[in-house]
């Protein structure tokens, strides 16, 4: 900066004056904005407003809560847990090691069946879910192990493929679809037989999100080098195999599986039964019990459920609305009573902090 100063000094005398003649007034311009006087709403929390607002929230929330509860109660849901039941048919009271051995042995018989009793009429569509728990589909290593580029059918670079490690390549050939998620695909299957209606057709189409089927998964790309398809001999530790002749977009089970669940317990849509199920009917589910949850002690369930406008059977939301609504009403009442019992006049100067500290003698002087 001193360099600058030196250069000005070389100017002929008086040359420095050019800095000064700023005759323009430095008076700030008046605008409501600069003077911070913009027209503004300054609402005052008066008792009426407080009580009124709490009432209002209560009045809105309680009905919503009721409607939501109603919706939840209109949903019929039947759950059947089968991972132990299915095993007990073969090895009753198995140890963990036995269970794991059993499930990993491709030669053991794996079919079993469970029955589900319909207590209430289930209007179609009846959705079929499988439910797993203690399964960390949200584990970082697991979540990252996929290549969206590959699934779209795009050009896969080696760095894309690296994401899929350790299920990226077999013998230097890229696995399609690569990654741990695809590799661990859920592969239990269910067949439903109704006592009254006979075998039930399960619609496996339309269980995935539309956008996934249309854009996220290629309709031309075929699975290749998929390790689960080449299980030879001994045991498998992977998941389901894929039809090498069916493009990815057609395999909705895969697509549903690839949308990773948020929490360690999750349900995934498996299919739809598109006829009404009557109350009192019993449904037998033939299960091929292939998927290994025995290693980590996870449960497996099959679920039949109808939906309402709100989705599945979930009372929580309704109760939450009712709780908050009631709390608000209660508070409104409480505030009302306390205010009614000892009201504070608005703008009462005796509440000012400096008037509270017993300055009585000084006040007389002012009046």
């Amino acid at each position: 900066m001193s360099i600058n100063g030196a250069s000005t000094s070389e100017n002929p005398l008086g040359g420095g004056d050019s800095i000064i003649p700023k005759k323009q007034s430095r008076k700030p311009k008046y605008t409501k904005f600069t003077q911070q006087e913009l027209p503004a709403c300054k609402p005052l929390l008066t008792p009426a407003w407080v009580i009124g607002t709490f009432m209002l929230v209560g009045v809105i929330f309680i009905p919503i809560g009721l409607v939501t509860l109603l919706a939840s109660h209109s949903v019929v849901e039947i759950i059947s847990q089968y991972e132990t039941a299915c095993l007990d048919q073969y090895i009753p009271g198995a140890s963990k090691a036995q269970k794991v051995n059993y499930i990993q042995d491709i030669n053991t018989a794996k079919s079993c069946n469970v029955t589900m009793n319909i207590n209430k009429k289930m209007k179609q569509p009846v959705y079929i879910y499988y439910e797993l728990d203690n399964f960390f589909q949200n584990h970082r290593r697991y979540v990252k192990s996929r290549s969206d580029e590959q699934l779209r059918g795009g050009k896969v670079s080696s760095s894309d493929l690296d994401l899929c490690a350790p299920e990226a390549q077999v013998n230097n050939l890229p696995i399609v679809p690569c990654g741990l998620i695809a590799w661990s695909l859920f592969n239990d299957t269910y067949t439903f037989v109704s006592r009254s209606n006979g075998p039930l057709t399960v619609n496996k189409k339309g269980i995935a999100w539309n956008s996934d089927v249309k854009y996220k998964f290629s309709s031309t790309l075929l699975p290749s080098n998929f390790p689960n398809n080449n299980v030879s001999g001994g045991s498998t530790i992977g998941g389901g195999s894929l039809d090498p002749s069916s493009p990815l977009a057609l395999d909705e089970d895969l697509i549903v599986w690839m949308r990773t669940a948020a929490l360690p317990s999750f349900r995934k849509l498996w299919g739809k039964i598109e006829i009404d199920l009557e109350a009192g009917d019993t449904i037998t589910v033939d299960i091929t019990n292939l998927y290994n949850t025995y290693s980590f002690g996870g449960k497996k369930k099959v679920v039949l459920s109808t939906t309402s406008w709100l989705g599945g059977k979930n009372d929580f939301l309704g109760f939450a609305y009712l709780t908050i609504g009631c709390l608000c009403m209660l508070l409104a009442l409480l505030f009302f009573i306390v205010h009614w019992r000892n009201p504070r006049p608005l703008g009462d100067t005796s509440y000012l902090s400096w008037n509270k500290k017993g300055n009585a003698s000084g006040e007389n002087v002012l009046q």
Binding site: M1, L180, R344
Partner: protein, 1222 residues
């Protein structure tokens, strides 16, 4: 330039020669000033008028270019960068950025490095800009013009200050500053003296006399410098203002040079046409620059506290990161081998079950970044931006714009905005800050009759209180505007205090003016009174050739005001010769005609601080001898003869009244001398005068004492030390705001006390505790003892006085009693010593007002530090001169008054305002707002980031602490930048609890700042807990609602994508809704920004979701396909924010309804006022809303009113008694 020679040799006048000596003595004796005698080295050689000899080492000295900037081009980068990393948060961010470069990072390094660069960049740019302004100001000063002798041209030429070189001969004109430290050669006075005003150096307003060496006096014309050359050897540059050692070789002689010959940079030439001098020290070598300290980097209290909050959060962060890492390590070791779907056998280091320790450590590093949202870097970005805009508002406030000087307020740093709202103690300079340094003759009391209808502000207010008609007091209608102004103090005081037509004279009374005094009963006394005014002084008249008008040059403005007053009364002092004074006066005998009379001044007994009086022995034209005397009333009273006390009682009453109004009073007396007595005394006096040695002064005092006795009182004068416009009102408001005000002045104790009264910092009924060394013990010790024993006696005396004062204050049972502490600079030397300063401070904080007089610039800084460190509360230093720089820099906030010349104070300050009264707006409006804005903003910021950051933590816990977030990377990086940034900034920029006029109407509201109601730990933790609650609610409700069951009517389940987006939507909703609830002031901006931010999230989600899935990953079509059509999503969006806000709303409602805070009440009062048609009704209420104070205008008036009422009640009783007696 016309060479007007003043044919007078000032040195021949008695009083001045003594003055010079007295001053020299006081300089040597006066401790605490510049500290220590300067000459460490003695190596400087200056070749006067021979610049060519200064081109080679060692004779190349500093240029006169002065720079007060913190940085230069080279040092800016490292130094400013270092400044930035003094903030703990920045260090943390740097660490995070470093980690983000390793593979452990959960997100891309850019998302961490970019904001850090931005924060540091903005802060550095701010520093740079501020420094640039300093540079521009330097440039302005460096470009000032002075006349420098150029040998080649053989004439003086205009030169910029920065080009003045050591050895240059310069000519400085009247009222100009000296460009460097000069050796004075000669002046327009024949005897080579000149007056210098050193206000910028030590704040003293009286003029100092400098004198050149005898031998150079002759070089007093431009032409004489062609052949001039001399060689000066002197001390090296040092900061001691009052010492100088050197000698000059000139004309074959070697002559000693002392401080008498040195004209210091930044002092100003006064009352002298011009001086010639040689530049000795230039630029940074000058004494004033040697005194300068580097501009300190100040940080506000809130910012410092924010550091502790950051530490706290950092610990929380470490805790949860450690906890997560331990759990992750254990589970990876024990459980993950069974998770076949992860292929634990082929894993990398991050998930290797065989190396749990490594896994834990790596996770810890990842977690540090992952939970980094707890310590938001964007907080700093936002604060920087908000503060810049706050500063912009301060600079653009019309209420702080001064029309006459065309100066708006200017914040020179933006670091301290919120500190303005937390000030506890104001330390103010007096001259130039509180007062204008102008004295007006306002009133007088002659022969027991009070004259003068000029009314001070205090008196007007009292009259109004007593129900009297103010205009009748004033007798003039022109001041009607004043009354209006005072009735509503909120509006600017712009037009009150009109400038009087005649400088130094503001006297209004028809009884004395225009010769009417002749008709007064005591006209001979009045005549005598005027004569004393016209004769008994040391001023010099100066006739303006063009207009013929006479102006007066006096040592102090009050002396000038006497002579002006005498002139206005018809006794015009026109000429002074060696021993005569010529006065044009009205002939009283005839009543008509004006005669010129010559009064012979036989002796002048000059003023000094111990005598507190001055006298002169005068021979009247018609023969008689008279001693005229003026002095402090107590001193004069001691010397009155019995008959001379006729008017004493009434005069004393008048004096008390004047004093309480803050007027400076002097009593006037005379004594007719017998020839014989005089002759006898004159011998004694002459002997004393001619004595050489240190007891000369004592002898002179004793001699004077002999004749100054048996006086007859004539009357008293009252001079108003003109206050700056609006000062009393402003101080009143500040007092009501609960601020403590200390006045630190270089002036005399009496002057300081006067101003105390004028500003209502002192008033009658207040108990004054005066701490000084002016007592007999100390005097005795000074007379006989050596230095050590003087010091000991002094220490004992001060300790005793302080202890006594402390006892007085603490033992007092009267709760309403107010105390004032008055202490002088000499006493302060001891009181500020380490072992006594606590006692001093303890006493001082108990007193309602504190006045320190005769303090040096360094002491000002020391006192400021004492208050700052001792009370641990924010201090504000305000001043206008270079002598206040230390104080301004030491105080937590330094304020410079930019109205006057001399930019040092402004350049050292953090805020510059044109007038003291703007302090009200600056503190009570902007300070209050900024404090609340910033504290609320910071609290909210922590809330918002805790809410968000903890949901990341909870979710990560659900993923087995594997480092996975539920949110898309982009949601995360845009959270603080886009979806929640503007609303919080709007909070920081625009929030107002009450409007600006309400802020000044209810000054006590300001106390919320110093008490730190909005940034205390309970508040901060409250907001944090609110954040923890919100995060729990968001996470719990969303995860439970979306857990297993179908999400929509089509039976789909909510995956990680839906859950993440829903939770994020809820958070955007929650934090923005919370902000909406937090605000109390909604303009269209708030609405646009808050609702805009929420809407923008949806816009973003829609746009981003429509990008190819490889780019949008989990956000792909999530809004269009999954969220928007699902009723459950919208039900959550409604439920979650309301549930989150529930405790806050309940708490606020409860507080509002039953435990209101001050600003709530004031909002209500304002709100109610709108509906009231009768303003009187609310005046009453307003009064109740005003805090009682013991200082300030209001308290002063109240005290006076109750006194007057008592008095009038008494007098009524008296009259009734006398009546009944009759």
């Amino acid at each position: 330039m016309a060479q007007k020679r003043n044919g007078l040799r000032l040195s021949k006048m008695l009083s001045f020669t003594d003055c010079i000596k007295a001053q020299g003595a006081s300089v040597n004796g006066g401790g605490g000033g510049g500290g220590g005698g300067g000459a460490e080295g003695f190596s400087r050689v200056v070749f006067c008028n021979q610049l060519q000899r200064h081109t080679k080492p060692p004779y190349i000295y500093q240029s006169n270019y002065v720079s007060t900037t913190k940085y230069n081009l080279l040092s800016f980068f490292p130094k400013a960068l270092y400044e930035q990393f003094r903030r703990v948060a920045n260090l943390y961010f740097l660490l995070a950025a470093a980690i983000s470069l390793t593979p452990a990072t959960p997100y891309s390094p850019l998302s961490l490095i970019a904001p850090l660069t931005f924060v540091i960049g903005v802060s550095m740019a701010k520093e740079g800009i501020e420094d640039w302004h300093r540079f521009l100001q330097d440039k302005e000063i460096n470009a000032r013009i002075v006349m420098v002798y150029v040998s080649k041209e053989a004439q003086f030429e205009e030169t910029k200050w920065q080009d003045v070189k050591v050895g240059n001969v310069v000519r400085v004109e009247r009222d100009k500053f000296f460009p460097s430290d000069l050796l004075m050669l000669s002046s327009s006075y024949l005897d080579g003296v000149c007056y210098v005003e050193t206000m910028n150096l030590d704040g003293e307003t009286n003029l100092k006399l400098k004198k050149s060496l005898e031998c150079t006096v002759e070089c007093d014309e431009d032409a004489k410098f062609a052949s001039f050359s001399a060689e000066v050897k002197c001390e090296d540059p040092n900061p001691s203002l009052y010492t100088f050692i050197g000698n000059m070789e000139y004309g074959g002689e070697v002559l000693p040079i002392g401080p008498q010959q040195i004209l210091l940079r930044d002092s100003k030439l006064r009352n002298t046409q011009y001086v010639f001098g040689v530049a000795i020290f230039t630029g940074h070598d000058t004494k004033v620059m040697q005194n300068a300290t580097d501009a300190p980097s100040k940080r506000s209290g809130i910012e410092k506290k924010m550091d502790s909050v950051i530490y706290f959060l950092f610990n929380v962060l470490l805790l949860i990161a450690t906890g997560g890492s331990v759990v992750f390590g254990i589970r990876t070791k024990n459980d993950s081998p069974m998770w076949w779907y992860l292929q634990p056998d082929t894993t990398t280091h991050y998930y290797n079950p065989k190396k749990p320790a490594m896994v834990g450590i790596l996770h810890f590093v990842t977690a540090l970044i992952l939970y980094g949202y707890l310590i938001p870097i964007s907080l700093y970005v936002s604060i920087e931006i908000v503060k810049l805009l706050q500063v912009w508002f301060i600079n653009n406030d019309l209420k702080m714009y001064h029309d006459e000087t065309d100066k708006p307020a200017s914040a020179r740093t933006s670091n301290l905005n919120e500190e303005l709202g937390q000030v506890d103690t104001i330390l103010s300079d007096k001259t130039g800050t509180l007062t204008c340094n102008q004295m007006d003759f306002l009133k007088c009391s002659i022969a027991g009759v009070a004259y003068g209808r000029g009314v001070t502000e205090v008196e007007k207010a009292i009259a109004r209180k007593l129900g009297q008609d103010v205009s009748s007091l004033e007798g003039a209608s022109e001041d009607d505007s004043n009354n209006n102004n005072n009735n509503n103090n909120n509006k600017g005081f712009g037009k009150s205090n009109k400038q009087p037509k005649i400088k130094g004279f503001n006297f209004k009374d028809a009884r004395l003016m225009n010769g009417q005094w002749l008709k007064q009963p005591n006209s001979e006394k009045i005549e005598l009174f005027f004569r004393i005014l016209a004769i008994c002084h040391t001023s010099i008249p100066e006739r303006d050739e063009a207009t013929g008008k006479i102006s007066y040059e006096a040592e102090s403005p009050d002396e000038a005001s006497f002579v002006v007053a005498a002139r206005e009364f018809g006794f015009e002092f026109i000429k002074r010769t060696q021993n005569s004074i010529f006065v044009k006066e009205r002939n009283r005998a005839s009543g008509k005609g004006i005669v010129e009379r010559e009064y012979k001044i036989l002796n002048l007994l000059e003023f000094n601080s111990t005598r507190k009086r001055m006298s002169c022995v005068v021979r009247f034209p018609d023969g008689p001898l008279m001693l005229m005397c003026k002095g402090a009333d107590s001193i004069i009273y001691e010397r009155l003869s019995k008959i001379g006390k006729v008017y004493w009682e009434t005069t004393k009453m008048h004096l008390a009244k004047y004093g309480d109004a803050g007027l400076r009073t002097l009593a006037l007396a005379y004594r007719v001398l017998e020839e014989a007595e005089y002759a006898e005394w004159n011998d004694v006096f002459h002997t004393a005068k001619t004595t050489i040695g240190h007891d000369r002064d004592a002898l002179l005092d004793a001699a004077s004492d002999l004749i100054e006795k048996d006086l007859t009182l004539v009357g008293a004068t009252a001079v108003e030390d003109k206050l700056q416009i609006g000062v009393p009102e402003c101080i009143d408001k500040l007092a009501q705001a609960g601020l403590k005000i200390w006045v630190l002045t270089g002036d005399k104790q009496e002057t300081a006390i006067n101003i105390g009264f004028a500003c209502s910092l002192l008033r009658q009924g207040m108990k004054q505790i005066i701490i000084s060394l002016e007592n007999s013990d100390v005097k005795a010790a000074e007379e006989f003892g050596d230095k050590a024993s003087i010091a000991k006696v002094s220490v004992d005396s001060i300790t005793h006085q302080l202890a006594q004062g402390f006892e007085l204050v603490t033992k007092d049972s009267d709760e309403d009693a107010a105390y004032a502490l008055i202490i002088d600079g000499k006493a302060l030397i001891y009181a500020l010593a380490d072992d006594m300063k606590d006692l001093f401070l303890r006493l001082a904080v108990l007193c309602a007002s504190v006045v320190c007089c005769r303090v040096s610039p360094k002491q000002k800084a020391l006192i400021t530090r004492l208050v700052k460190v001792g009370t641990r509360k924010a201090t504000l230093g305000i001043g206008d001169g270079a002598n206040d720089v230390g104080m301004i820099q030491e105080a937590d906030i330094g304020i410079g008054i930019s109205g006057v010349e001399g930019m040092q104070a402004v350049m050292a300050s953090d805020f510059a305002i044109a007038q003291f009264r703007y302090l009200e707006t600056l503190l009570m409006v902007h300070g209050h707002w900024c404090y609340k804005r910033i504290s609320l903003m910071v609290c909210y910021f922590f809330y918002k980031n805790i809410t968000f950051g903890l949901t990341i933590f909870y979710y990560e816990a659900c993923t087995n602490f594997s480092g996975q977030t539920g949110y898309n990377d982009w949601y995360m990086s845009l959270f603080n930048v886009v979806f929640t940034s503007l609303p919080v900034m709007v909070l920081g920029i625009f929030e107002q609890d009450v409007a600006s006029n309400v802020c000044s109407e209810f000054p006590a509201l300001y106390q919320q700042g110093p008490h730190n109601l909005f940034f205390r730990w309970s508040r901060i933790l409250g907001w944090m807990l609110n954040g923890v609650y919100s995060s729990l609610v968001v996470f719990a409700i969303v995860t439970i609602a979306l857990k297993l069951e179908a999400y929509d009517i089509k039976g789909h389940n909510a995956g990680m994508d839906v859950l993440g987006a829903t939770m994020y939507s809820c958070i955007v909703g929650v934090v923005n809704f919370q902000l909406f609830m937090t605000l109390s002031y909604y303009t269209w901006i708030q609405h646009v920004v808050i609702w805009g931010s929420i809407s923008f999230w949806y816009v973003f989600l829609a746009v981003y979701g429509s990008l190819p899935s490889t780019f949008s990953t989990t956000a792909y079509k999530v809004l269009a396909e999954a969220l928007a059509p699902a009723p459950i999503y919208w039900l959550l969006i409604l439920l979650v924010p309301l549930t989150c806000i529930f405790p806050y709303a309940t708490f606020q409602s409860y507080r509002r309804m039953f435990r209101p805070m001050d600003h709530h009440l004031i909002q209500e009062i304002r709100h109610l006022r709108k509906h009231v048609k009768e303003p009187e009704e609310y005046k009453h209420q307003n009064k109740q809303a005003v805090r009682k104070t013991s200082i300030g205008f209001t308290a002063h008036v109240d005290a006076r009113v109750s006194l007057e009422r008592k008095a009038s009640r008494l007098s009524r009783m008296d009259t009734s008694i006398t009546n009944s007696n009759k």
